[in-house]
């Protein structure tokens, strides 16, 4: 069984009030790809990610992780395969110490305490916050909380990372650190964000949503150069492509 592909096949979902959140979503994401999901507020970005991890179930179409369809019966495997981080890391941290929060997933999957410890230490090391292990999550800074929230999913060793607004409310240094961290991950990444500069640095492919439908799906460099389409979708070109307000020179995207 291969979990390397993520397939959205004609996916549709409406909220209880009848509002169509997404419709006719079709996308195939390959192993190791970093894909940005962008769009104006209410375009359906978060819904798309929530459908992927089964917080919401599609009304129409289906989502597959390789051979595995996302259904209520497969949720346990799906959620082990896809690590999802919430927009607000506070929603994800509910234990007394960072260690317990990171250990929560592995313990629920019945791993013995030695293996749990190994995974916790390894996840904390990967995000560079091993020193916070015994701290209380509510006392951490925004950037640290975000790092812990990522560690909580890494400890479950997922193949796919789905992140909702990972840079929201982060200061520039924390944001930069997070980008570097994500650049080092070999996971398949789906990142719903408004931070188009982050998209330029991290994602080779971008899906643009407008009113719940895919308006564009292709190379990031191409869409970011199309200011007209971006504007139609309620977006603006990334700051790094808008040029310096003083000398009007455009900044070259760094490698």
């Amino acid at each position: 069984m291969s979990h390397h592909l993520v397939d959205f096949i004609d996916v549709g979902y409406s909220y209880l009030d009848g509002n169509k959140a997404v419709e006719n979503l079709n996308a195939r994401i390959h192993h190791g790809e970093a894909v940005a999901i962008v769009g104006a507020n209410g375009a359906g970005k978060s819904t798309m990610l929530k459908l992927l991890v089964g917080i919401l179930m599609p009304e129409q179409g289906e989502i597959r992780l390789g051979d595995l369809p996302v259904t209520k019966k497969t949720l346990s495997i799906v959620r082990q395969t896809v690590g999802f981080t919430f927009q607000d890391p506070e929603d994800q941290l509910f234990n007394i110490t960072v260690y317990d929060d990171v250990a929560f997933g592995p313990r629920n999957y019945g791993l013995d305490e030695k293996e749990v410890e190994k995974r916790v230490v390894s996840a904390l090391q990967r995000v560079g916050i091993e020193h916070l292990m015994h701290r209380a999550p509510y006392k951490l800074s925004g950037g640290e909380k975000r790092a812990v929230s990522i560690a909580t999913v890494l400890s479950m060793e997922p193949n796919v990372l789905a992140m909702d607004e990972p840079t929201a409310a982060l200061d520039p240094r924390s944001r930069r650190r997070l980008i570097k961290l994500l650049q080092g991950f070999e996971h398949t990444k789906l990142i719903a964000t408004h931070d188009l500069d982050l998209v330029m640095e991290l994602c080779s492919r971008t899906i643009v949503l407008k009113d719940g439908k895919i308006e564009y799906d292709g190379p990031t460099a191409e869409i970011m150069a199309d200011s007209q389409l971006l504007e139609q979708c309620g977006l603006e070109q990334p700051l790094m492509l808008q040029g310096c307000p003083i000398c009007r020179q455009k900044v070259i995207v760094r490698e």
Partner: protein, 270 residues
């Protein structure tokens, strides 16, 4: 209400105290839970007028606090939160039971007054015991101890989730309160006109937040089961702790130590 954010952070102080490494903290949580339960049973077993008999039981919280290096202030805060409930229950005792049972300096003390005082003392002792258990053990270890005592999972989860919900509720209360006061700078407190809508809003917000937390738990494999930390087996020191306190409770329950002490001090022999 002005320090609601502080209250929110203070709420976690018991969990922080539980991280200490004193002799009391090192006792096995199972032994501590059993001792606390026995203590609670003994406290409530006293006659409703027996204030003097309850006095030696204050030794337990005092010793735990001093050996466990637990400050009194957070304990007092917990007592203040619980006090209105007990006062509500016992406030009418002095009015309903007016039989004079004793006089002190010419002032008659009614049976109702005595039973009300005894109720307050019992509240003080039981709340202190529960808070001290939390402050010397921590909620996760208490849950793990309950699990090893074969208490059904459903009760353990109820306890853990309720405990977490309190922090969600307090966090959201702080946010709503700040949002309100920032736009009502000349008001003291919250106007009674908006209480209804604010409480409604608070419930909806906490419900939403609790739902997101629950989703986060489900995403990490939570299936209404508590997989706590593994506790060590009971050691010699734990058994001594358990037996020592149980013996003490039995002695003070069946021997009136305050009276014996009084007799000793005054030198009056019947």
């Amino acid at each position: 209400m002005a320090n609601i954010t502080q209250a929110y952070y203070k709420m976690f102080i018991l969990d922080e105290l539980a991280d200490k490494k004193t002799a009391i903290h090192r006792i096995n949580p199972v032994a501590k839970i059993i001792v606390t339960l026995i203590y609670l049973l003994f406290v409530v077993s006293y006659n409703k007028y027996d204030i003097i008999g309850l006095m030696p039981l204050f030794f337990y919280p005092v010793i735990i606090m001093s050996v466990g290096d637990i400050p009194f202030k957070p304990m007092l805060a917990g007592l203040i939160i619980a006090a209105p409930l007990v006062i509500g229950v016992g406030i009418f005792n002095p009015l309903l039971d007016r039989t004079i049972v004793s006089t002190v300096s010419g002032i008659g003390i009614s049976a109702g007054m005595l039973s009300f005082m005894a109720l307050l003392v019992k509240c003080c002792l039981t709340v202190l015991a529960a808070l001290l258990l939390l402050a010397t053990t921590g909620m996760n270890k208490i849950a793990a101890a309950m699990q090893s005592l074969h208490i059904p999972q459903i009760f353990i989860m109820q306890l853990l989730l309720t405990y977490r919900y309190i922090s969600v509720l307090m966090g959201e209360t702080a946010r709503v309160y700040h949002a309100y006061t920032l736009r009502a700078p000349h008001q003291k407190g919250v106007s009674s006109k908006v209480w209804g809508s604010l409480i409604g809003l608070l419930l909806l917000r906490t419900y939403d937040r609790a739902s997101r937390l629950y989703q986060a738990m489900k995403l990490r494999g939570f299936e209404n089961q508590f997989f706590g930390i593994n506790l060590d087996k009971l050691e010699k020191k734990d058994i001594i702790y358990l037996l020592g306190w149980t013996t003490f409770f039995i002695i003070v329950r069946f021997i009136n130590i305050p009276m014996l002490f009084g007799v000793l001090v005054t030198g009056v022999i019947k």
